[in-house]
């Protein structure tokens, strides 16, 4: 490889989609943090002024990320990963507790959240390890090692405690599956989720009955039947799983998380308690749905959202930012936002597929998966489709660490992609 042959071609479509989201996100942060006063972008007590600074700094980051030799990311992935783990572990000593989670380092008047960067590091490390010639993801021992790379940072995040961010590490499943992880993981995974939800919603007895019917029907319609012990074992396994899920839900799950699931699956039937829940645990969700709904088809217009201006939705500039989009920009704006997210993710996936080396492809896949999971969980939560899990909406939610984390995540891939011609 000769220096003079170096030929970069950045994927401008991705970059444009990225900036559309960042700028529209900022517009909504203005609405969400503004409460009737005149806008003043030089007053840094306002979130929107600070976010503007973060956006400016992220452009410097982009230039930095793009100007580093692309091989650097592959070669130093282990070092980056270790630094990330250390910074996560260091939180237990030097971290600052905000809203019950010790996820931040205080730096002067600012705070820094290493968790947002650990995702990048883990993506690099997983890509590096699996793309190594000696690693075969179809081998169980290599699977275990790969899982360890993912689980260690996830556990550290979970212990902060920040369950929402830990769930995001589930995104690596898509990457590994793409690279050859056996089907059984997908099947068992999907079954586990279905079974858990079913057990919570309809109880252990119904789960037992349904699994028995399904498994036995399958067993008796087969021509060559193995021993009866097999289906019985499956049924017992399913039932005990259902039982454990219920037990976990009833006795171990912290109250606030239990309530979120109760609200999501409408498990509370007492209308009086339900009404009370709407004012307490489901307050955010209820207000955010109302705000989105009040936007109607066309929306109320920039800064005209009465529920947004009145701060009816708590945390609206961070996790609940999408409710601002819903109220002020209506169905049209919300749909376009969803569409741009989809285009960005799909574009990244297409780019990933055209990578010539496995490391770049896996990293690109990881970027798409992480963005997708954030998108799915955040907007799904704000619209009441999935239980409340507090994670930010990429590029939209207020916060420097988050914005920078996603910027680095995306632009490392853009850099890798731009270099693919030089790789073979």
């Amino acid at each position: 490889m000769r220096q003079t042959d170096r030929h970069y071609k950045f994927d401008w479509l991705t970059i444009i989609l990225f900036f559309i989201l960042v700028m529209f996100g900022w517009v909504n942060i203005i609405s969400a943090s503004h409460s009737g006063e005149t806008l003043n972008f030089t007053d840094f007590s306002h979130y929107y002024s600070k976010q503007l600074v973060f956006i400016g700094l992220s452009i410097i980051l982009i230039i930095l990320v793009l100007s580093i030799e692309s091989k650097f990311y592959e070669r130093f992935s282990s070092v980056i990963y270790l630094v990330a783990l250390l910074s996560l572990a260091g939180l237990f000593v030097f971290g600052k507790n905000i809203n019950g989670a010790t996820s931040w380092y205080p730096i002067g008047s600012f705070t820094f959240q290493p968790g947002e960067f650990a995702k990048v590091a883990t993506a690099l490390a997983v890509a590096k390890y699996v793309s190594d010639l000696n690693t075969d993801i179809r081998k169980f021992s290599d699977q275990l090692k790969t899982f360890a790379i993912i689980v260690v940072p996830a556990l550290l995040v979970l212990l902060q405690p920040d369950a929402g961010s830990a769930i995001v590490y589930g995104a690596f499943f898509f990457v590994l599956y793409r690279e050859g992880l056996p089907h059984i993981y997908l099947i068992v995974g999907v079954l586990l989720i279905l079974l858990s939800v079913f057990a919570l919603k309809f109880g252990v007895i119904s789960t037992l009955l349904i699994t028995a019917i399904v498994v036995l029907t399958y067993y008796f319609t087969r021509k060559k039947r193995p021993s009866i012990v097999q289906p019985i074992t499956v049924i017992i396994l399913c039932t005990s799983l259902a039982f454990s899920v219920r037990f976990f839900y009833e006795n171990i799950l912290p109250a606030h998380q239990k309530d979120r699931i109760t609200v999501w699956l409408s498990l509370e039937k007492d209308p009086e308690k339900l009404e009370r829940m709407k004012k307490t645990v489901a307050y955010n969700l209820n207000e955010s749905e109302k705000a989105i709904s009040s936007g109607g088809f066309k929306g109320k217009g920039f800064l005209e959202g009465t529920r947004t201006t009145g701060n009816f939705v708590p945390e609206q500039h961070t996790d609940y930012i999408f409710s601002t989009v819903g109220e002020e920009w209506g169905f049209v704006g919300s749909f376009l936002t969803v569409l741009v997210f989809l285009l960005l993710i799909i574009r990244i996936l297409i780019l990933a597929e055209r990578q010539k080396n496995q490391f770049s492809r896996m990293y690109g896949y990881a970027v798409g998966s992480i963005l997708f999971l954030h998108f799915l969980i955040n907007i799904g939560m704000v619209m009441g489709l999935i239980p409340t899990i507090g994670i930010p909406l990429p590029f939209f939610s207020y916060g420097g660490s988050g914005l920078w984390g996603f910027t680095i995540l995306v632009f490392i891939f853009i850099k890798l992609d731009s270099n693919r011609i030089n790789q073979w």
Binding site: T306, T309, S369
Partner: protein
């Protein structure tokens, strides 16, 4: 296949999200109505309520400021409670209770701590208010009555109830609305239109500032002043005369239908229904089921009219041509049918013609006329309906259509009524001869009687009685200027007017003449029954009197009704004469009548049925003499 899993998931999630957005924002979209948006506070700006003047321009009702002490519990700093309580004239316990209540209502929102401070208390408190953080004084507007009379006419205002709010979206909880009298019937005119300010609030209910810089806000529109037809002097005099009595006086200007006085006794000072003690006083008035001061006897009391009703039968007889003015009937101390005495009569000359029949109030004469009216037609039903039609044309038997909110229909029977009682065609004129003399099934309210007299005074028409004289810059309803004609031709009225004139000249009211005024009148006495412990018991008769004056070109028509007053000229007649003189001359020459009325009370008569002891009525009772009340010209 492996490549597609994530791609497909992304696309499916995109579709699901779009569907959910569509459901939330298009299918289930909530209203964008500003009034329904609970993120917007609606602050109302209440205009000045219109004043009420009497017909001569005397101010009757105006407004006064009232001061409420408000509290925002979160902002309260430790204070000298003892001094504060003594300033507010409350006990320390009340202070504690109220504070707790306010806190429970909301720590952040203002709450009425003490309402309706007097001006004096306010003056003292105002200087020290700055010492008490979290407390402030809020000014409100209350009604001020510039007089002590006319509570039933002027009415009062109070907070809206749930029904008001449901029926009219204008009202919000806590708004004031006219409850009785002209305050109720001219509510929309007097109240004006409140202005509204839309204010953006946050989830703690704190104000953030005007919504969209106030482009949706509206300014209040002041209420209009009204002038009512009441003559305050006459009204006040009427109320004075009715002291220690129960009943009603209605005076109408027959030319215009304007109500000059509308007295209901017992009454109360309208000022007691203003301010701090309003609810306490109202409950007291409302619960007084014996004297019943909130019951407007001039509009709501429904009784058999007694003898004044006789003149109607004379008019109908003339109109139907079944009798003329000279025809005579014998009266042998009553009316006999098949050898049985149906109605008694007092002793007077016999035989009786129309003029004598009216001024001596002969029962036999009118039963004869009445039977002829009914028997003119082949069936009693037709005769009855024809009679009923004539009577109703005088505004009896149905709501008159005046502009006050309470009233009763009265009752004028027709053939259907008796068909129900006796069965179809199973009755004849002799069954209901009591109607001839204003007893039996006929019932009227005092205002209907006054209106009937006005129609006679006008010789054949009346204008719907009303209380409104002028609305600032607005014409009054056309129905209060349009004459309503009776079914009796004009020429038939003269003999009746002559008869009523002779009531004063030589008949039942000859002791009540007023020098220089030609008064036409008619006495009435109505039997009075009440249920006492479930037993129908007769009480002393009601005293009734109707009159108009002067005979030619009448200026006042009046009906007076005094409960348990016995015969017509005894109480009601005296009061009617005094009222007429007061209105036409402005001074009283018959001070003997005035003295008698002011020194005689019926209170012991009213106490009888509630005493639980046996009692005597009518002739065998003795009148209670009381000292003259303090009379100050109103």
């Amino acid at each position: 296949m492996r490549k597609l899993l994530l791609l497909l998931s992304v696309i499916i999630v995109g579709i699901v999200f779009t569907g959910r957005l569509f459901y939330l924002q298009v299918y289930k979209a909530t209203s964008t109505d500003l009034y329904a948006d609970n993120a917007i506070r609606k602050v109302f700006d209440y205009p000045k309520r219109g004043f009420v003047y009497d017909r001569n321009g005397k101010l009757l009702v105006s407004n006064q400021p009232s001061y409420d002490v408000m509290v925002i519990p979160r902002e309260v700093k430790p204070l000298d409670t003892l001094e504060f309580c003594s300033l507010l004239k409350i006990t320390k316990q009340t202070f504690k209770d109220k504070y707790e209540k306010a806190y429970r209502y909301s720590p952040r929102l203002p709450y009425v701590f003490v309402s309706h401070l007097s001006k004096e208390d306010y003056a003292v408190l105002q200087e020290k208010m700055r010492k008490y953080e979290g407390f402030y004084i809020q000014k409100r507007s209350l009604r001020k009555y510039e007089t002590t009379i006319g509570a039933n006419v002027l009415g009062d205002i109070g907070e809206v109830n749930n029904r008001n709010i449901q029926n009219d979206s204008y009202y919000q909880s806590g708004d004031l609305i006219g409850k009785q009298g002209v305050e109720a019937s001219y509510e929309k005119t007097l109240r004006g239109q409140k202005g509204i300010k839309f204010i953006q609030k946050d989830r703690f209910n704190r104000n953030l500032g005007p919504y969209q810089n106030g482009i949706n806000d509206t300014l209040p529109e002041a209420g209009k002043d009204i002038k009512i037809t009441i003559d305050a002097t006459l009204q006040g005099y009427g109320e004075l005369l009715m002291t220690n009595k129960r009943g009603g006086i209605i005076a109408i200007d027959p030319k215009t239908g304007e109500i000059l006085a509308l007295v209901s006794a017992p009454s109360y000072d309208p000022n007691i229904l203003v301010g701090r003690d309003r609810s306490k006083n109202f409950t007291k008035l409302y619960n007084d089921s014996i004297a019943n001061p909130t019951f407007d006897r001039s509009l709501q009391a429904q009784y058999p009219p007694g003898s004044p009703f006789k003149v109607l039968n004379a008019l109908i007889g003339l109109q139907e041509g079944v009798v003329n003015t000279t025809e005579q009937f014998t009266c042998r101390l009553g009316y006999y049918y098949n050898g049985r005495k149906l109605h008694g009569c007092h002793s007077h000359r016999s035989p009786v013609n129309m003029n004598l029949g009216i001024y001596e109030s002969c029962n036999a004469y009118f039963v004869n006329v009445y039977r002829r009216i009914l028997e003119k037609y082949p069936t009693s039903a037709e005769g009855m309906d024809n009679w009923s039609k004539h009577v109703k044309s005088f505004g009896l038997g149905d709501y008159l259509g005046y502009d006050l909110v309470v009233g009763r229909k009265g009752r004028i029977p027709d053939s259907k009524f008796y068909d129900k009682w006796y069965g179809k065609n199973r009755w004849s004129s002799t069954f209901m001869t009591s109607n001839a003399i204003g007893q039996g099934e006929v019932e009227t309210t005092p205002i209907q009687l006054a209106n009937m007299v006005a129609a006679i005074a006008n010789r054949g028409y009346f204008i719907t009685p009303h209380i409104i004289k002028e609305i600032e810059g607005e014409a009054i309803d056309e129905k209060y200027t349009t004459p309503r004609y009776t079914t009796i031709d004009r020429q038939h009225f003269e003999p009746i007017v002559e008869g009523m004139f002779d009531v004063y000249e030589k008949g039942t009211a000859k002791n009540l003449q007023v020098k220089g005024i030609e008064i036409c009148g008619k006495t009435g006495t109505a039997e009075n029954f009440a249920k006492i412990d479930g037993v129908k018991t007769q009480l002393t008769d009601h005293s009734i009197f109707v009159a108009f004056a002067p005979k030619d070109n009448p200026k006042i028509a009046i009906a007076v009704f005094v409960e348990n007053g016995y015969w017509g000229s005894r109480f009601a007649g005296r009061i009617a004469s005094l009222m007429i003189e007061k209105y036409l001359k402005g001074t009283i020459s018959r001070t003997d009548l005035e003295n008698w009325i002011l020194t005689h009370s019926l209170e012991n008569e009213y106490a009888k049925p509630h005493s639980g002891e046996p009692f005597k009525i009518n002739r065998e009772t003795q009148l209670q003499v009381v000292p003259k009340p303090n009379y100050e010209a109103n």
